[in-house]
C-alpha cells in the first residue's frame, strides 16, 4: 500500500457514522434505503458515504445492488510507517509523472477498475497511455492496482 493509499484509507474511516455503517454491512448486505432507515440518515448522505467507502476499498456492491463489507487489515505502527515512507522514496511514479505529466495518473485511474478485474491487460494500458510496458507496470504496481 502506498502512503497516498493509506492516508485515503484512514481519511475515509475518520467518521464514526461511516464505521457504524461498515460494521453493519459485515453482518449482511444492505441497500442504500435499508441503511438510511437503520441509521435514520438521509439517503444522499448514505450514498456519499458508501461511495467513499467503496473508493477506499472497504465495501463492494453485490449483484442485486446492495453493499457488503470487504475484509481488511491495517497495522498502524511507527515501524510500518517508516517502511512505507522508505518505500515511497524508492518509488518511480514521481519520475514517470515528471516525464509524462500528471494527466497520466488521471488516465490510469480511469482504467484502474478494469485492470484490477482482469478486463484489461497491461499491454492495453501501455498502448492507451502511450507508455512503455515498464513504465505502465510500475505505475500500476505503485498505485496498488496489481
Amino acid at each position: 500500500m502506498s502512503l497516498a493509499a493509506l492516508t485515503l484509507k484512514l481519511r475515509t474511516l475518520a467518521n464514526p457514522r461511516k464505521i457504524k455503517i461498515l460494521v453493519s454491512l459485515r453482518e449482511k448486505p444492505l441497500s442504500i434505503t435499508e441503511i438510511a432507515d437503520k441509521f435514520s440518515m438521509p439517503q444522499s448522505t448514505v450514498r456519499k458515504y458508501l461511495l467513499e467507502l467503496e473508493t477506499g476499498g472497504y465495501v463492494t456492491k453485490t449483484p442485486d445492488g446492495k453493499f457488503k463489507a470487504k475484509d481488511f487489515k491495517i497495522v498502524l505502527s511507527l515501524d510500518n510507517l517508516v517502511k512505507l515512507v522508505k518505500k515511497e522514496e524508492e518509488q518511480l511514479t514521481p519520475l514517470i509523472v515528471k516525464e509524462h505529466g500528471t494527466e497520466i495518473l488521471r488516465r490510469l485511474k480511469e482504467l484502474a477498475l478494469q485492470v484490477k478485474e482482469g478486463k484489461l491487460s497491461i499491454y492495453d494500458v501501455a498502448e492507451h497511455l502511450g507508455l512503455t510496458y515498464f513504465e505502465t507496470y510500475v505505475l500500476l504496481e505503485e498505485s496498488g492496482l496489481i
Partner: protein, 164 residues
C-alpha cells in the same frame, strides 16, 4: 527423479522481479521461457523510446532494466521460445478470441500477448510440467480457462504467490 518444470515468464513478472532485485536469482537453475512479444516489449520497444525520455533518472532506470534483460537473453537464461504456428494456429485464434471476450472488445483490438497463452498450452500439451509466472490478471484468467478446457494442468504463479 521428477521432471524439471518449464517456467514461462510474462513481461509483468519479469518487471516485478526486476524491481525487487530478484530477477537473476529467480531464474537461476530454472528453464525460463519468454515469447518474442515479451522481448519486444521489454527490450526492443523501450530501446527505441530511450532517446525520447527527457528525465535523466528515468532514462537511466529504463536503460538498466533493458540491459539486464538483454544480458539474460543473450546468456540463454531467458530463452525466447517460438510457437509451433502451424500446429497451434487454432489455439492462437482461440486465445485471442478468449482475451477479446474477457476484455469485451473485438478480436482485432486485442493488445495482450496471446502468444504467451499458447506457449504455456503448447508446453503443457507436449506433456511438460508448465508454470506460468504472470501478474497480468487477464492473461492468467485466459490461461486458466483454456487449460481447463484442454484438460491440461498449468500452474499459474504471481510474483507474490500462487494462483492455482
Amino acid at each position: 527423479m521428477s521432471e524439471k518444470p518449464i517456467y514461462i515468464l510474462n513481461a509483468s513478472a519479469i518487471i516485478a522481479l526486476q524491481r525487487k532485485g530478484k530477477l537473476t536469482q529467480y531464474i537461476k537453475d530454472k528453464t525460463c521461457l519468454i515469447t518474442s512479444r515479451v522481448k519486444e516489449e521489454l527490450i526492443e520497444k523501450p530501446k527505441l523510446k530511450l532517446r525520447e525520455i527527457k528525465t535523466d533518472e528515468l532514462r537511466k532506470i529504463v536503460e538498466d532494466s533493458v540491459k539486464e534483460i538483454e544480458i539474460l537473453v543473450s546468456e540463454g537464461k531467458l530463452v525466447v521460445a517460438s510457437i509451433k504456428y502451424k500446429r497451434f494456429s487454432k489455439l492462437l485464434d482461440e486465445a485471442r478470441k478468449t482475451i477479446a471476450i474477457y476484455e469485451s472488445r473485438a478480436e482485432h483490438e486485442v493488445k495482450a500477448d496471446h502468444t504467451i497463452v499458447v506457449l504455456a498450452l503448447q508446453k503443457a500439451l507436449e506433456g511438460r510440467k508448465t508454470i506460468l509466472v504472470s501478474n497480468d490478471k487477464t492473461i492468467n484468467k485466459v490461461v486458466q480457462k483454456l487449460a481447463t478446457s484442454k484438460g491440461v494442468k498449468i500452474t499459474i504463479k504471481t510474483t507474490n504467490g500462487n494462483i492455482t
